[in-house]
């Protein structure tokens, strides 16, 4: 039997006021807050640990464990910083969540801050999505007005301020330490770790940095409990997940399903491939994870199964590409992106992304030299593991991943351009529409 969809975070997005405090309250919103405030903060951390919730921003680090790294009774201020800088190519699940259900994030922030003993939280939203900024900012204002944020919240003695902060267009700020530097008013460049943010984060104080979707899970967990959460997903990848399915499917969109659902099922829910279309390759979690093909459609979408297949679940935001797509063009464009977004702090990433892009563009244009394929591979190996942060590792991912399945297309790039090999109009949605 097919894995059923599990609307939790998305359950009421069809209400016309789902983003308001009234819309959220109507379905049990802010019921978790008094429950959490009646618990010992350590018990809240323990409960989240027991759920096995893993970070939804891509790395999949256990959330409760991350919270427990914050030293207590250290006399320093603690901070929660929510990473809402979603800009991984392919990922489009946090922006919808902020726009349709921002109060789940706000309630999650309050509970998380109570647990880690923070009295100041920041939501770092990418600046390029102003409607997400204003929806969260309005939700924060409504929560202040309702007394959920502020001084002595509901008589608990717990004080909290929440600030919504707009970024200014830099993919690297999704990296947690670059985000912290950016939030401190600096260039968004990553920091050397250790020390990790839990020890020396924002303003050199203990800081938890969590993804939007991760924190939005918290109120539902507090309300419904560990067993409820663990009924979804697998032992190592518990819970439900927002999958944004994009590309050559009939109904691209946000699908909330348990971890462990297969890509075949997700494509099926998304109405199947578009007319006359056959799957060529797909990427499970953003451009920074290696691509897969039709032979991988029945693998469970879990952290562990994706790792076993040589890729990563990443942000769990699959992109689907059909036979009209040039792999060379796809990979070249991704590399142009990494080159543009490399912060320039470390040499392997700054120089390597430039060299790779330049060489890949010769294959895209149809005059690559076959021996350069080895050089590109060498560059990838020089970048991966030798860069300051994960952006370098990510940049070294698409090319080897593509060579594994489509090396012949790169070889063809020594004599035929990508646009000659693949009609650039055929891959567009306009072409799909005219076929129907």
């Amino acid at each position: 039997m097919a894995t059923p969809l599990t609307p939790v975070l998305t359950a009421h997005w069809d209400d016309p006021d789902s983003f308001t405090i009234d819309g959220y309250r109507r379905h049990g919103g802010y019921d978790a807050l008094p429950k959490a405030l009646a618990m010992d903060p350590d018990a809240v951390i323990g409960l989240v640990k027991d759920t096995g919730l893993r970070g939804r921003g891509g790395a999949g680090f256990p959330t409760g464990l991350k919270w427990s790294f914050v030293p207590q009774n250290d006399g320093k201020p603690h901070y929660l910083v929510v990473n809402a800088d979603e800009s991984e190519p392919g990922a489009c699940k946090d922006m919808p969540l902020l726009m349709a259900n921002p109060h789940s994030l706000v309630e999650g922030i309050i509970i998380t801050c109570y647990a880690i003993r923070a009295r100041h939280a920041f939501v770092y939203v990418r600046g390029e999505v102003p409607h997400a900024v204003r929806r969260v900012a309005a939700a924060v204002r409504e929560a202040y007005q309702a007394g959920h944020i502020g001084t002595n919240i509901h008589g608990s003695g717990f004080d909290l301020d929440v600030v919504v902060h707009s970024g200014a267009g830099a993919y690297i700020c999704g990296e947690e330490t670059a985000l912290l530097d950016s939030l401190e008013g600096r260039r968004g460049q990553p920091r050397l770790k250790p020390p990790f943010p839990a020890v020396a984060g924002l303003y050199a104080s203990p800081t938890v940095v969590n993804n939007v979707e991760t924190i939005s899970n918290i109120p539902y967990i507090i309300r419904n409990g560990v067993d409820w959460f663990r009924q979804f997903g697998t032992e190592k990848s518990p819970g439900f997940k927002l999958f944004s399915v994009s590309g050559h499917v009939r109904n691209p969109g946000v699908y909330e399903a348990p971890l462990g659902i297969t890509m075949r099922e997700l494509i099926d829910y998304a109405g199947g491939m578009r007319e006359g279309s056959e799957l060529k390759f797909w990427v499970p979690g953003g451009s920074s994870v290696p691509m897969l093909t039709a032979e991988h459609l029945d693998l469970p979408m879990t952290y562990e199964a994706m790792a076993e297949a040589g890729t990563m679940l990443g942000t769990a935001t699959p992109m689907v590409f059909d036979q009209t797509v040039s792999v060379v063009k796809t990979v070249t464009r991704w590399l142009e992106f990494y080159k543009h977004e490399s912060c320039g702090k470390c040499t392997p990433c700054r120089e390597g992304t430039s060299w790779m892009t330049g060489l890949l563009e010769t294959f895209q244009a149809g005059h690559g030299r076959e021996s350069d394929l080895q050089i590109i591979d060498d560059i990838c190996q020089q970048i991966a593991g030798r860069s300051f942060c994960a952006l370098g590792d990510a940049a070294a991912t698409p090319f080897p991943g593509a060579m594994k399945y489509f090396s012949d297309e790169f070889v063809a790039g020594t004599h035929t351009s990508a646009d000659d090999a693949f009609d650039p109009v055929a891959s567009t949605v306009l072409a799909g529409a005219s076929k129907r």
């Binding site: 600030v163 968004g188 306009l430």
Partner: protein
């Protein structure tokens, strides 16, 4: 540069949001851009004074982030995502047609100062590809025709509504929103559009249950 009392008050309010004043730097640069249409040397000087930084420190930050423009932006800023997925699904076609229609290229502004256009990176709207933005508001599922019609309307001063947000104002107004964050327009646009609702719709069509509330143990026992 001269700023009026309202802006001066906004500067104070933004700085007051943060435990450490330097954190106000990014929002203040957005605010300056809302006044001048770009981050000018004067603006850098003013922000430096407000935050007790050197102008070199502020300039080094301002030049790092792509949203801060060093030359005057048009009344409207139009972005076309040309990252892989959007490019393949039509972003390249949309970009070419827009660039041809306006006669300008990447990061350029029309002679009448109406439009600046930019090839932008992933906009977190891959489910709505090809993704276009007007003054950074979503203009989803773009086609050459829909973009051309939008240009005509904006030129004529007719209202253009973001597909998931408010009626388009102008570039500076959006920059002001990013600085102050809560601009009173959160209620504009739908909670979610059909693509954001795709999963919920598919679940309801198949009679699948909403899962946001745990089924009480007693009911479970009866089943």
């Amino acid at each position: 540069m001269e700023i009026d009392d309202t802006t001066r008050e906004e500067v104070r309010a933004i700085i007051a949001r943060y435990p450490d004043t330097r954190s106000a730097l990014l929002p203040l640069l957005h605010l300056m851009q809302s006044v001048e249409g770009s981050v000018t040397p004067d603006a850098i000087e003013l922000v430096a004074q407000q935050l007790e930084l050197t102008s070199a420190e502020v300039a080094s930050v301002a030049t790092f982030y792509t949203m801060y423009k060093r030359h005057r932006t048009g009344r409207h800023h139009i972005g076309v995502c040309t990252n892989s997925l959007c490019a393949l699904l039509g972003g390249d076609v949309v970009w070419k047609s827009l660039s041809d229609e306006l006669g300008i290229g990447h990061d350029e502004t029309t002679a009448d100062g109406e439009f600046s256009i930019e090839r932008i990176e992933c906009q977190a709207a891959c489910t709505h590809a090809p993704s276009v933005t007007i003054d950074w508001e979503y203009f989803d599922d773009a086609t050459p025709a829909s973009v051309s019609e939008m240009i005509t309307k904006l030129r004529a001063g007719e209202p253009v509504q973001s597909t998931r947000g408010p009626v388009i104002r102008d570039f500076r107004a959006t920059e002001h929103t990013l600085a102050i964050t809560d601009d009173g327009l959160a209620g504009e646009g739908p909670s979610a559009d059909h693509r954001m609702l795709a999963g919920l719709t598919a679940a309801k069509e198949r009679g699948m249950a909403l899962q946001d509330t745990a089924v009480p143990a007693s009911t479970e026992g009866e089943n």
